[in-house]
């Protein structure tokens, strides 16, 4: 074994050799992300440096490396927001400061005391109860991040998981405020019963529980980020926000519109990922399509179930079928934007 005691001419590197011979300097986002997940290293015998047939290796092999969703180069995917950790905490701190300001302002005005009973009941059914499904969605985002075949997917998925925790946190904060204002309305104490027993929620509960067992990473991603959340968020953020505004509950309207930023960012990277996999391998359209067809009915039933709550809200309600159609249309827009082949063949069928 001979070491070179004479220093050879030094090769000047501009960046990680892993980037190969690239002309431009990679961005800080790329420098901190590229190749981060070494279980994806080339020439590996198994993802983890242990017995190739250990449970952890078999799981990764089955649900990640052998997923029906395959491309030639996962590391070339980019989150369109190119969000680094540092940029994330900076922008979310700004958002939270804005939220905090609004919360203080409405608390100072004692706004909750003015909410009418029927609207409070609607909030209890459709807003404060969301902490359960959102926590399930948070778990699935974490799973997508864990299992993703590229760190460029792991990172935005992990940030989306954090966004879910942000949303649960804000919903919980509001739940406590509403409880303080209306101690007998079941806020903070009654949501679990609503989630588990209210007919309106059962399709959503079923969809979330099933999504927790979608273990192929590609299916988990498709089910949650391309089908369920785009549909549910249309109901729980956009439509509920509009109804809140129409009902004079400006606080709920403001908060749901703030939260839509997170949902839109998740849809940006998720839509881009769908576009990417189809562009890389056209055959992936069929793979996604199969999952989309499997999960869309669950999303539609969920939206219709939640729509029934709005339908029963006499002040500013809207028909459950309209609610569901709008939710399906929102999903279709995301899918069609990603790749024309992903949208439903018959858009009318969605409504």
């Amino acid at each position: 074994m001979s070491a070179t005691t004479d220093q050879p001419a030094k090769r000047r590197l501009r960046t990680w050799s892993a980037f190969g011979d690239i002309k431009r300097r990679p961005s800080d986002y790329e420098i901190g992300t590229q190749g981060m997940n070494y279980t994806l290293r080339e020439g590996r015998k198994a993802p983890f440096e242990q017995n190739p047939s250990s449970p952890a290796n078999l799981w990764m092999q089955t649900y990640r490396d052998d997923s029906p969703l395959q491309v030639d180069d996962w590391e070339s995917f980019r989150d369109p927001d190119m969000l680094s950790y540092r940029a994330y905490v900076t922008q979310q701190h700004e958002q939270e400061t804005k939220v905090g300001g609004v919360l203080e302002q409405y608390a100072a005005a004692n706004a909750d005391a003015q909410l009418p009973p029927e609207w409070r009941a609607t909030l209890a059914r459709l807003f404060t109860t969301t902490r359960y499904p959102l926590h399930g969605a948070q778990q699935v985002q974490a799973y997508i991040g864990l299992m993703a075949p590229s760190p460029y997917i792991t990172n935005p998925a992990a940030l989306s998981a954090a966004d879910m925790l942000r949303r649960v946190t804000l919903v919980s904060y509001r739940t406590r405020e509403l409880q303080l204002a209306w101690p007998d309305d079941g806020f903070a104490t009654g949501e679990r019963a609503i989630w588990e027993l209210d007919e309106a929620w059962q399709p959503t509960r079923r969809a979330i529980e099933l999504a927790l067992t979608a273990y192929d990473w590609g299916e988990a991603f498709t089910a949650m980020n391309l089908v369920l959340l785009p549909s549910l968020d249309d109901v729980l953020l956009r439509q509920l926000g509009e109804v809140a505004r129409d009902s004079g509950d400006d606080l709920t309207w403001l908060l749901t519109s703030f939260l839509q930023r997170d949902a839109q960012r998740r849809e940006r990277w998720s839509g881009e990922l769908a576009r990417f996999v189809v562009a890389q391998r056209p055959g992936n359209a069929g793979v996604l399509r199969k999952w989309i067809d499997k999960w869309s009915p669950l999303a539609d039933e969920s939206a219709a179930g939640l729509g029934s709550v709005l339908e029963n809200y006499s002040l500013r309600g809207r028909a459950a079928s309209e609610v569901a159609a709008a939710a399906a249309a929102a999903r279709e827009r995301l899918l069609a934007g990603a790749s024309p082949g992903l949208a439903s063949a018959d858009p009318a069928a969605a409504s």
């Binding site: 074994m1 800080d28 981060m36 983890f48 701190h93 905090g100 948070q138 804000l170 919980s172 588990e196």
Partner: protein
């Protein structure tokens, strides 16, 4: 009008468990990943972290930390700070960047796994912050390491190391894959946040920052101690998990801690030990590795364990004896097999260093003094070939580090003793009784070969030294060579001959 205090509403954020109806609990929390074992499923409802943080507080505090860490880096970029650092200290940082950056990436996945499969919502929520923290650590470590790539190609291994089969990497992957994402959530919470993060990382991220600052590397000291402020928080996932496990399955709790305490101690002896006692210039050493181990591990961490009702591990005497041996031997091994490294190893045995080593480690001269002297004599007489390896060190089947631990036996001699066992017709060798015992107890590493075994099984081609170096990913411009151009060797020709200083 102020916002409500966190205590008034945080209970609601964690009140998000529900009874699964459409799927089985076992399907959502499979034993492979969740690992409840003998602990009743509902026992986890008691799980509560004591270091609490909310989302708005998290992003506010983390933004402050990031701004301050990058402000220091940016201020130092324009200075000559890097150029003035000792080459040995730079090697400590190369070892750190390469050994740590992608482990932080693995820890991101590990935290995501707990965020998905953890058995209590409070735990899963805390893991979300843990995952974000680890994403931070990956990015900051890579960005700080990247800063030096154009100055020195060895820094490329900040990123590259974990994509190769370098023996150091294989050893570290083997440790961290078992500790982190390869484990179920319960074991992982004991192994990673508790044993590793409240115990050992303090050595590499806080204690080493004391040396870094003395060595003039403000940027590095600032980065690692900032990282550790996150660890101090999210590592608290371990405590509540351990409390519940001790109550329902104390044997498993003890075993899990014992196993990863030992394996972490092995890895730290390879990396942190040499960094502190050899790579940090002797005049800048704040304490010895042994003293830091006593401060952070033997004193502080063992008190934590007894606080949770755990006993001292079974191998305690062997571990304590190893504090005077493991890292010294590993340092010699790193130096002798220097072409296999992505940094420039430091002999660290000039006269002042030897004096320091003998003060801190009374047996050092007896065990290591003459070996270094023989090496130095070869250097001084120009016989460099004799200082370079022509074969591989044997690697332990458990920790994948060289089997290089002498002990003082009943025969009155310091000798490296062989610890081996036969299983299914294969002979396995271990560096210590501890590693052998751990391997035998769970045999997780069956079918997982060391680099030496891969070589002997013909997996490394061609079967020669260039073949091995190629397998490890080493290129000539990166291969390690003495950090100080062998200047230290001359101190041996001026000082007393062999034997007169030793024997203490």
């Amino acid at each position: 009008m102020a916002l409500l205090k966190r205590e008034e509403w945080q209970g609601i954020v964690r009140d998000v468990d529900w009874t699964l109806k459409y799927v089985d609990d076992e399907a959502v929390y499979p034993e492979w990943h969740s690992g409840t074992g003998k602990v009743p499923r509902d026992a986890w409802q008691k799980w509560e972290e004591s270091y609490k943080v909310s989302y708005p507080d998290y992003v506010a505090t983390q933004r402050e930390k990031e701004n301050s860490a990058y402000a220091v880096q940016s201020a130092l970029k324009r200075s000559k700070a890097f150029e003035t650092l000792d080459e040995g200290w730079k090697s400590a940082t190369k070892m750190h960047f390469g050994g740590v950056a992608l482990v932080e990436g693995m820890a991101t996945l590990a935290e995501l796994k707990m965020a998905r499969f953890g058995l209590s919502p409070a735990w899963r929520n805390m893991s979300i912050f843990g995952a974000l923290d680890e994403m931070r650590h990956t990015q900051i470590t890579l960005l700080f390491g990247h800063e030096f790539v154009s100055k020195d190609p060895q820094y490329d291994w900040s990123h590259k190391a974990f994509h190769t089969n370098d023996w150091v990497t294989v050893s570290l992957r083997s440790l961290f894959d078992a500790m982190m994402t390869g484990a179920n959530a319960v074991d992982m919470a004991i192994q990673l946040p508790l044993t590793f993060e409240t115990g050992f990382t303090n050595l590499q991220f806080v204690a080493l920052s004391a040396d870094a600052l003395e060595a003039g590397d403000i940027n590095f000291a600032n980065m690692i101690s900032s990282i550790q402020t996150d660890e101090a928080r999210h590592s608290q996932q371990g405590g509540p998990t351990l409390e519940i496990l001790v109550e329902h399955d104390p044997v498993r709790a003890q075993w899990t801690v014992d196993k990863f305490f030992w394996l972490s101690a092995r890895a730290f002896a390879a990396l942190t030990g040499p960094s502190m006692d050899y790579y940090t210039p002797v005049e800048h050493r704040k304490q010895s590795y042994r003293e830091f181990m006593e401060e952070w591990i033997i004193d502080q961490f063992m008190r934590t364990l007894s606080d949770y009702g755990l006993k001292k591990p079974w191998y305690w005497d062997e571990f304590m004896e190893g504090l005077d041996i493991w890292h010294h031997s590993l340092n010699m091994g790193l130096w002798f097999w220097r072409p296999t490294l992505w940094w420039k190893p430091v002999a660290g045995v000039d006269e002042a260093s030897r004096q320091w080593l003998n003060e801190k480690y009374p047996n050092w001269e007896t065990v290591y003094g003459d070996k270094w002297r023989v090496i130095a004599e070869n250097i001084n007489s120009g016989n460099m070939e004799a200082t370079l390896p022509e074969t591989l060190p044997w690697l332990c089947s458990m920790c994948h580090l060289p089997t290089c631990n002498a002990n003082y036996g009943r025969d009155g001699k310091w000798r490296v003793r062989n610890y081996s066992l036969k299983h299914n017709g294969m002979t396995y060798h271990f560096c210590t009784k501890g590693c052998r015992q751990i391997w035998w107890e769970d045999r997780d590493n069956l079918n997982h070969t060391t680099v030496v075994e891969r070589f002997l099984l013909g997996e490394i081609q061609p079967m020669d030294v260039p073949g091995v170096l190629g397998y490890m990913g080493l290129t000539p411009d990166v291969m390690g060579d003495d950090a100080h151009n062998y200047h230290w060797a001359s101190s041996f020709s001026q000082s007393e001959p062999a034997g007169t200083a030793g024997g203490r």
